[in-house]
């Protein structure tokens, strides 16, 4: 079966933004050429791994690389944090999947990123900028130390509002406070795009709802194949069942049933805990064994 492994997806760059957030740049010529803002890839880090959907945070068709920004929160992502080094390779990378984000003719947009959504909002902000829109970036971090890609965002945003929990940089508050600020300063915002944890996307959608501003969110339900085959990623939008992988991942935030999404994200809570505990234990044991 050696030919199945001939496709090696080499990691050519890595950068750590905090103790949990890290960036991998993966060599994949075709993917770099095909990727569009809003799309994601399905990654398996090794042969026994699970298939994890990761939003494409950046792509460079000249270098032939795609960039993934990962938060080490569960077993797979923590393991990747340990094992994925420059020169190593991912076992499988499939994609780019999902409909590309619709970069319409909005004249003024707010691109909101929080937590794991900071990186994936970047290609959308850039695409809007390239399309001639006035782009306001709103990024949420816990504290100044965790801020990354600020320069990158400043290069594509006309305004950048940083929001931190402790006020160590930018405004003190959540991304919703940033959105409110943007709306207060700009009565003519055409569109808001928000990517991040479901609770953040929900709050963002609620913030814009009274103003009637079109708000797109990128949903991240649990998936297996990412090609429309398993139905695990089904979400309720406007009371209709949609598959995030082939019908999304972008949906109108005012129509998404976030309560349903959050319940479904807890589907494997017990198994995730088991896997993580077991893995941490093996790591500790290995740590002891090594001199």
């Amino acid at each position: 079966m050696n030919e199945d492994r001939e496709s090696r997806f080499e990691i050519v760059a890595r950068e750590d933004y905090s103790d949990v957030t890290f960036m991998l740049e993966v060599q994949h010529q075709l993917m770099a050429r095909a990727a569009k803002p809003g799309q994601f890839v399905v990654v398996m880090s090794h042969e026994h791994g699970e298939r994890v959907p990761l939003t494409i945070a950046d792509f460079d068709s000249k270098k032939g690389t795609v960039t993934l920004v990962i938060q080490a929160v569960g077993k797979t992502t923590r393991e990747m944090q340990q094992t994925c080094r420059i020169g190593t390779a991912l076992y499988a990378v499939a994609g780019p999947v999902g409909h590309p984000s619709l970069i319409g003719d909005a004249k003024k947009v707010v691109c909101v990123g929080g937590g794991l959504g900071v990186a994936p909002i970047f290609p959308q902000a850039r695409a809007f900028k390239e399309n001639g829109a006035y782009v306001i970036g709103v990024l949420g971090f816990r504290t100044e130390k965790l801020v990354f890609w600020e320069k990158k965002f400043r290069s594509v945003c006309d305004e950048l509002i940083l929001c931190t929990d402790d006020g160590s940089i930018g405004i003190k508050g959540l991304v919703t406070d940033g959105i409110k600020l943007a709306i207060a300063n700009h009565p003519d915002i055409d569109e808001v795009v928000a990517i991040g944890p479901p609770v953040m996307m929900k709050a963002s959608a609620e913030t814009t709802r009274p103003h009637g501003i079109r708000t797109m969110v990128s949903l991240n339900p649990i998936m297996v194949d990412g090609t429309g085959m398993c139905g695990g990623c089904r979400v309720k939008v406007n009371d209709q069942v949609k598959f995030a992988c082939v019908d999304g991942p972008d949906f109108d935030g005012h129509k998404v049933d976030f309560a349903d999404l959050m319940t479904r994200l807890r589907r494997f809570a017990d198994e995730e805990k088991t896997a993580l505990e077991r893995w941490s234990q093996t790591c500790r044991m290995k740590g002891l064994a090594e001199p």
């Binding site: 791994g49 139905g231 695990g232 319940t263 479904r264």
Partner: protein, 497 residues
């Protein structure tokens, strides 16, 4: 041949095949059906009447010369038998296991007029397994003809088409979205019915014919069908992406946790090895009382997988009666033996919430059969006032699939109303040089029907490309290869390595 066989002279009883005992096998994923031994195969081979006008061949979607291969088994010429099968079927070890023989070759077998039909499927599997064990292959040296063919999807339709095109001398690349090839054979059919090693062996045969596999490649997204021809230099394309977009129940509660499609359950368990969690990372949480809705082969597989994963009780709910159940007879019988409880003429109307987003139970209604519908089966209609509640903590729906939308979303190929790819009778699509077949054209069907479609497409693809000798065949007995005299040099030049 000594004396003509008649229905009176052949062994009257169909040779039984040994199986793992039900109570033992529900605790493992090893194969249920152990296959014929040599003696059993020889005995069963005697039951074939060698009809002058064999109807079984017409009953086979890929027209295997059934009497001929059985005759060769009788002569203990197993290699010869393999070569007869391999002429039209690349995957005997797979088809012997998963074909619904009772509605195909065995369904029309002349012996079945009086006795039980010849166990053609088991004999085919016997030969297929032997070929794998002995490492037989019919791969000759094939002179390349310079044509490059892209096959989209490595399921049964794709591999059948790939095999024929490779044999014709084309350079074949098979694109697969998953990390391992095989399509539904890999993700859908569980190990106890089709072991992974069998798939590996059959895929390797295809590699020996020169076909290349490129996994992790989602055609439509990584590059489009149009790009395959316009930019990547392929002369023709076959699309066999299957129909894997699972249908939902569409009843209240169907988005609760622990409600999932059979596709998800089987993919987690088969392809992702969730049964070995946490040694493999993909989880498959399981309820104690599982309900599977539907009674096709996928439903049977899902139920039997749940049992083996450790469910205490597995129920099957189906709105029609047993007679209308689409599963292979053997699968239903195996499921019954293993203790699956069947609730025929029962339809779910609501899945009940435990208040935390999980399944607590299901509300069902009894059905009765009314007038036949467009499928010819009697339409089930609800019995008023017969609603009842049923305790369950996991619901799996195996109620069919719809067309996968990716190719449709990303190409200009003409689709029909339901989203399947439209083709003419030659399986040509609306785009020149692009053919399609299998479930993505017909909707969910069987492995062998998909293989039949792959072969039909291959034949027409050769005509489209202008490749002569569209009906190549290999006959190990004669001085010919693929029907071509070895001394003759043809358009497609062949020689034995």
């Amino acid at each position: 041949m000594a004396g003509k066989k008649t229905i009176r002279t052949i062994p009257q009883e169909r040779t039984p095949v040994s199986e793992q005992p039900p109570m033992e096998r529900i605790r493992n994923f090893a194969e249920v059906n152990c296959g014929y031994t040599e003696n059993e195969a020889l005995r069963e081979a005697q039951r074939c009447l060698q009809c002058a006008d064999p109807v079984c061949i017409a009953g086979c979607p890929v027209a295997i010369d059934i009497p001929r291969f059985i005759e060769k088994i009788g002569e203990r010429n197993y290699r010869g038998a393999y070569e007869v099968i391999a002429k039209t079927n690349l995957l005997p070890a797979v088809c012997g296991r998963v074909c619904p023989q009772e509605t195909q070759c065995e369904g029309v077998c002349t012996v079945a007029d009086t006795l039980e039909p010849v166990a053609i499927g088991r004999l085919e599997r016997f030969i297929g397994d032997r070929a794998i064990a002995e490492g037989w292959t019919t791969a000759p040296y094939i002179e390349p003809n310079g044509y490059r063919i892209a096959i989209v999807g490595s399921g049964p339709a794709g591999v059948a088409c790939a095999a024929d095109m490779a044999k014709a001398g084309c350079e074949v690349t098979v694109f697969e979205a998953f990390h391992r090839p095989g399509g539904v054979l890999r993700y859908g059919i569980p190990d106890f019915r089709l072991p992974n090693e069998v798939i590996d062996a059959e895929i390797d045969n295809l590699r020996k014919l020169g076909a290349k596999f490129e996994c992790n490649t989602i055609v439509g997204r990584l590059f489009t069908v149009e790009q395959l021809i316009e930019e990547l230099g392929f002369h023709a394309v076959f699309i066999g992406t299957g129909a894997g977009y699972p249908a939902m129940l569409g009843i209240p509660g169907d988005s609760l946790n622990n409600v999932l499609s059979a596709n998800e359950l089987l993919t987690r368990c088969n392809l992702m090895r969730a049964k070995q969690f946490p040694n493999f990372d993909t989880p498959m949480p399981l309820g104690k009382r599982v309900v599977v809705v539907g009674a096709g082969n996928t439903a049977m597989d899902a139920m039997r997988v749940c049992l083996r994963l450790g469910a205490e009780k597995v129920h099957c709910i189906y709105r029609r009666s047993r007679a209308e159940a689409p599963a292979r007879a053997e699968e239903i019988q195996h499921a019954e033996e293993e203790g699956i409880e069947f609730h025929w003429l029962t339809n779910p109307i609501e899945i009940l919430d435990d208040g935390k987003g999980n399944v607590r139970g299901m509300r069902c209604i009894r059905m009765e059969l009314g007038e036949p519908d467009e499928s010819g089966r009697r339409r089930p209609v609800p019995v008023p006032g017969s609603e009842f509640e049923f305790e369950t903590d996991q619901v799996v729906f195996a109620i069919g699939t719809n067309a996968n939308p990716i190719i449709g979303q990303t190409s200009k190929l003409k689709l029909n109303k339901k989203g399947y790819i439209e083709t003419d009778e030659t399986l040509a699509t609306s785009m020149a040089g692009v053919f399609a077949g299998g479930d993505i054209v017909t909707g969910a069907a069987t492995v062998i029907e998909a293989m039949g479609a792959g072969r039909t497409a291959a034949q027409n693809m050769k005509t489209y490309l202008g490749i002569r000798d569209a009906n190549l065949s290999y006959d190990g007995d004669k001085d010919t290869l693929f029907g071509i005299n070895l001394r003759e040099r043809n358009f497609v030049r062949l020689r034995v390595r």
